[in-house]
Assembly symmetry: C2
Homo-oligomer: 234 residues x 2
């Protein structure tokens, strides 16, 4: 009887091996042979699942993103409610997260000027925005009724700050140890939230009358199942 | 009579040609032949001045940094006093600045895990910190007497935010047009400065008595001549 192969499982296995190979060699230096070796399969076998080195790398980056999304979603559904405690899980504060951030940083540098990679990266960016937006709304009292533009600006600001923090934490590791990364992220979030709170339109004078309609909630993305859906426009 | 060659001028010419070649082909794709073609010299002639492709690239990146430093210093010494108006000159808001930011982003990705590139990059980072610190101190009333740690945190925050803005402005150009880059930077600086102001230790009650010594100024780096010296520790 022929052996039944779970192809999805094997694709996942190969992408996971690619993550490990990228962590060891760096995204720009890793070869298909490195990934094959790490997976325990031959490069010929890999070719059944992925056409090029870039296909495997994109699958590996997608997997890294999905794992981060899963970690954050699980903690958000658990006891954690502080935004910085949530987001710090995405900072390069341990070897595994450093390897992931390094892969992204190298990928961005390679993707500039390569439309197919930028298009793919835009999709992940949307997913990441949706996740950060959800974390902000779930952890910030009142944020559900903020104007949508204000929420988007807060999300952009957090994402810019964290991307910049990756750059420096990876290229100047000795100057930005984990505790300083977290401290600076907390200062940023504190400052940002004060700034945002000052921009929330005031409630009608005398408060909202009993029986009056509740303020319209900003259309925030909610996770459906495990995966958080991307916002359509950003 | 033999022709007298100004070698410094020629090195500069080649580095400038490298900047143009990087802008056209991207940092990861540019070759020594591209740089030679752009400069009008042969690759053999380039070899008299630079040993490897990376030597030329590092000289080009240094030149880009020096030009930015010069632009900002000149404007700081002129009529401009608003911090965001100064810093926006470093954002990828036009094709030339986009090419420069793209070169840096690609460089950071390549430099991770390559100690000699990281060491070189750390030097530029120190110079950039010193310049941002100087811009902050010169444009923010009272900042000269802020505690040094507070100034360093403000500088870190601005640099993180701008680096992250490069990443997104380059990989998601349609979503972050120049006017939104500037608007988001302004929001960040506004929020950050309010946060910082709330952390400045209060002056002694009743104000500073006449004849009392002035508060000790934080040791900020001042430009000496055109070049702004790097801070020793960051």
């Amino acid at each position: 009887m022929p052996k039944i192969v779970d192809h999805d499982k094997r694709r996942h296995e190969i992408a996971l091996a690619a993550c490990r190979a990228i962590a060891k060699k760096g995204l720009d230096a890793v070869t298909l042979a490195d990934i094959a070796k790490e997976s325990g399969y031959t490069t010929g076998m890999l070719a059944h699942y992925y056409s090029t080195k870039w296909d495997v790398i994109l699958a590996a980056l997608r997997l890294m993103h999905d794992r981060l999304e899963k970690r954050l979603s699980q903690r958000l559904n658990g006891q954690e409610i502080d935004l910085v405690d949530l987001l710090k899980d995405a900072l390069p504060t341990n070897p595994e997260h450093r390897a992931e951030s390094a892969a992204w940083l190298t990928f961005w540098g390679v993707a500039i000027g390569r439309p197919h990679l930028l298009k793919w990266s835009a999709k992940i960016h949307s997913d990441w925005r949706a996740l950060v937006r959800y974390c902000v709304v779930e952890t910030t009292p009142g944020a559900r009724s903020w104007p949508p533009d204000l929420i988007e600006d807060v999300v952009s600001s957090i994402i810019f700050f964290m991307d910049g923090l990756y750059v420096k934490a990876l290229t100047r590791a000795s100057v930005y140890p984990p505790k300083d990364q977290v401290r600076l992220l907390r200062a940023h979030v504190d400052a940002l939230m004060s700034w945002a709170a000052a921009r929330v339109p005031e409630a009608p004078k005398g408060g909202i009358a009993r029986g009056a309609p509740a303020p319209v909630a900003a259309p925030t993305q909610r996770p459906s199942g495990r995966r958080i859906k991307a916002a359509p426009t950003l």
